[in-house]
């Protein structure tokens, strides 16, 4: 059996001619019509009896979602997850969150309007449209106005439809074949899947390479290279060749707490963790560890962080058996005083936070290679 045609098409020289033709064709009993025009012709929707667009509803919903979403995120980020307090005021500073809320709403609204119009409401792309297979479409996008009778019912007679169009003033009448809906075969799917996989592999490889190399390239390391003396750097200005001056004996930093232990081992024997055992302490320790230590020691403490490829010193493996055996006080001492190439963190991390970090290191150690009984 022959596939039923898509429809019978005729061209009109002007929008007015098209508008006049529609009632005539309708009068001959053809109710299902489509029109194709080079520009939006006003009055055509009414003549064809097209329903109102529902696009506005969708856009409104998405714009409202954008506004609520952005506002809620701002509130969560700035008042709940990481409260930023300014001038001792309440963290819920809603007026200051309005501008991004507006932008978020408009962004989602506009993109919904355009994309939903194209891809949902108009069902584009439809490259299989029979008009696209003809030469006629080139005339329509230039200056012709087309009317198409869609076949309805079994008694549809192409010749009669063509006659109706001609009688209404249409020219260049032609029958459009049904769109070809060829389903892609297995080979097509394999090819597409392979292409996508290859693209992903290339993109992934490039990203991995970039992440590795990028931070080590000049000028990306420029903050390292600065015309000033770093701590412990030699300099010829003073007779003893040191860049730093020695503080007078007995100096104590302002606001700092001196460590009352003479050495790493002494600290291990003498210092006692003063913190209570609470979830808050562990959580605090996790944050401080991730912030200060993870860049070198990795988030699990393995000492193989992403920086290790460019960092010449070798950060200790905090999961090693030595580190599991070392006393809490010694860990505290290392954080406060540093250890060989490991910098001191006394200036950046408060004593309580240091203990919290120690606690968290212990938790990390317990989390890896956990004994059977811990898993029960």
């Amino acid at each position: 059996m022959r596939k039923p045609a898509y429809g019978v098409l005729a061209l009109f020289p002007s929008a007015d001619a098209l508008l006049k033709a529609i009632p005539k064709v309708k009068a001959r009993g053809y109710a299902q019509l489509e029109a194709y025009t080079p520009y939006p012709v006003h009055g055509l929707d009414a003549a064809l009896g097209l329903p109102e667009s529902k696009l506005g509803v969708l856009v409104f919903l998405m714009a409202a979602f954008g506004a609520v979403g952005v506002f809620a995120f701002e509130w969560w980020a700035n008042a709940v997850n990481y409260p930023l307090l300014t001038g001792g005021k309440n963290a819920f500073t809603w007026p200051a969150w309005i501008p991004p809320t507006l932008e978020g709403s408009i962004f989602l609204g506009t993109f919904t309007a355009a994309l939903a119009m194209l891809f949902i409401f108009n069902g584009l792309p439809f490259f299989g449209h029979p008009l696209l297979q003809t030469k006629t479409i080139d005339e329509i996008t230039r200056d012709r106005f087309a009317l198409l009778i869609v076949p309805s019912g079994a008694a549809f007679d192409e010749a009669d439809a063509a006659a109706a169009l001609r009688a209404a003033g249409g020219a260049a009448v032609e029958t459009l074949p049904a769109p070809s809906h060829e389903t892609p075969d297995a080979a097509w799917w394999t090819r597409t899947a392979l292409a996508i996989a290859a693209a992903c592999a290339v993109a992934g490889g490039a990203t991995a390479f970039a992440i590795r190399v990028f931070p080590t390239v000049k000028p990306m390391v420029n903050m390292e290279v600065q015309p000033r003396l770093d701590a412990q750097e030699p300099d010829s200005f003073f007779a003893n060749g040191r860049g730093m001056r020695l503080p007078p004996a007995g100096t104590v930093p302002r606001g700092g707490t001196p460590i009352l232990a003479a050495s790493l081992d002494a600290a291990g024997r003498e210092l006692i963790d003063p913190l209570p055992v609470t979830e808050f302490v562990l959580e605090r320790g996790r944050r401080q560890f991730d912030r200060h230590c993870a860049v070198c020691h990795d988030r699990l403490g393995t000492g193989r962080a992403s920086l290790s490829s460019v960092y010449t010193a070798k950060p200790a493996d905090l999961q090693s058996s030595t580190m599991r055996k070392i006393a809490d006080g010694s860990l505290y001492w290392v954080i406060s005083q540093g250890y060989n190439t490991m910098p001191a963190y006394a200036a950046d991390v408060s004593p309580d936070d240091r203990w919290a970090i120690v606690r968290y290191i212990r938790a990390l150690q317990r989390s890896q290679d956990a004994p059977e009984r811990d898993l029960k």
């Binding site: 002007s14 929008a15 029109a35 194709y36 025009t37 080079p38 520009y39 012709v41 055509l44 929707d45 064809l48 097209l50 667009s53 696009l55 506005g56 714009a63 995120f73 701002e74 980020a77 700035n78 990481y82 930023l84 300014t86 200051a96 501008p99 991004p100 507006l102 932008e103 978020g104 408009i106 962004f107 609204g109 506009t110 993109f111 309007a113 355009a114 194209l118 409401f121 108009n122 584009l124 792309p125 490259f127 449209h129 008009l131 696209l132 479409i137 080139d138 005339e139 996008t141 230039r142 200056d143 990028f214 000049k218 000028p219 990306m220 420029n222 944050r287 991730d290 912030r291 993870a294």
Partner: protein, 458 residues
Amino acid sequence: MSSLPESLREKPLVEGRVSLADLDEHVQSLSETNPPRSWYVAVSITSLVALVGLSTVGYMVSHGIGTMGNNEPVVWGFPIVNFVFWVGIGHAGTLISVILLLYRQRWRNAISRTAEAVTVFAFICAMMFPAIHIGRPWMPHWLLPYPNSRGMWIDFRSPLIWDVFAVFTYFGVSILFWYMGLIPDLASLRGRTKSKVKRAVYGLLSWGWVGDARHWLQYEKAYLILAGLTTTLALSVHSIVSMDFAASILPGWHMTIFPPYFVVGAAFSGFAGVVIVFAFVRTTMKLEGYITMRHMDLLNKMVLFLSCVMTYAYIMEGFTAWYSSNVFDRYIFANYVFGDQWWAGCLTIFCNCVLPQLLWFPKMRRSVPAMVTVAAGVTLGMWFERYTILILSLHRGYLPATWGTFRPTIVDAGILVGSIGIFLTLLLLFLKNMPIIAAWEVKPDIVHYQKDAEVEHA
């Protein structure tokens, strides 16, 4: 219609008797034929300038931000002056394509496409400046809220963060609006081209557009919604930019007039920019029939109107400073025009308030040399306005001990000139390769005015 007296009759926006096919022939053939030699000359010059600019940026990035003139107390310097300047230029496109659309101003149809292109390209230039001004341009993601191991978020209360959101949204939406307008025209390019490859590319880019009446219905709806939403953007973006200044406490910045004042300034410089672009485009591209003297006249009226609003804003600003009785505010305003960089303030006033008054004369509005002179003056004046606001305020803060003087360096100049090169190069490429008049919007106008003409003949 014909009973109306001559002076009240609407003058046609399309000159001469042209058919719909003629329009496509005029406008779209540009992308099919080889451009004249002058185009090649122009594009080589502008891309050379752009290249010099980009190399200067490269030099600045590798040697550090100290190579520019920014330093205490003027830490914002040229990059932010240029940023505000370019964002301003970008505003005309949106105003023309969006607000005039809502007001059903038919004359916008012929110029909207190119004006939107001006917007997009001006924004590309604008966005370059904050990117290089942050000092480490390879860390722009720090401006965005993304989950990180530091466990911190950006501060959404900061006007600078509002600015990031505003500018990104505006840029995205401008491109979207521009592209959406292009779809039907790309479909008609698909119909014209002889080359198979081009046909496929245009077909893909227009998503298989066939001009179905049902599609047009949704399309026009989407266009209108986009226009409505983008209007809020057009008015809010420069307001938010102005809050970078107004939300601080610096004398000369901490003023409630700033948001509307910036929006008007932006539109003003934008229209001036568009006048210059069209003064050249319409003659060199032989589009006088579509972008007529009437269009130019209307554009110039907009410039004149905005100049008057600008003048009012300047007066209000000065009045507020005086009326506040705040010695610092008063001093800052005196310093704009009598201080050690008095020429910046005086140039601003001359170019933005005095020079455009020429446009009261219809002859001037219709003379290409006159309008280009005025528009170029306004563009210069608006750049100096930003210079005045930014630099002359920053270098005289509340603490006289920190007062200083700003001196731009050759790097500053190179990057500014380079950004002009980038803008012009992009614009020239656009003019050559894309449908520069929104044909689907102008075609109904052609029909409309031709009908009028027929009624007259009858």
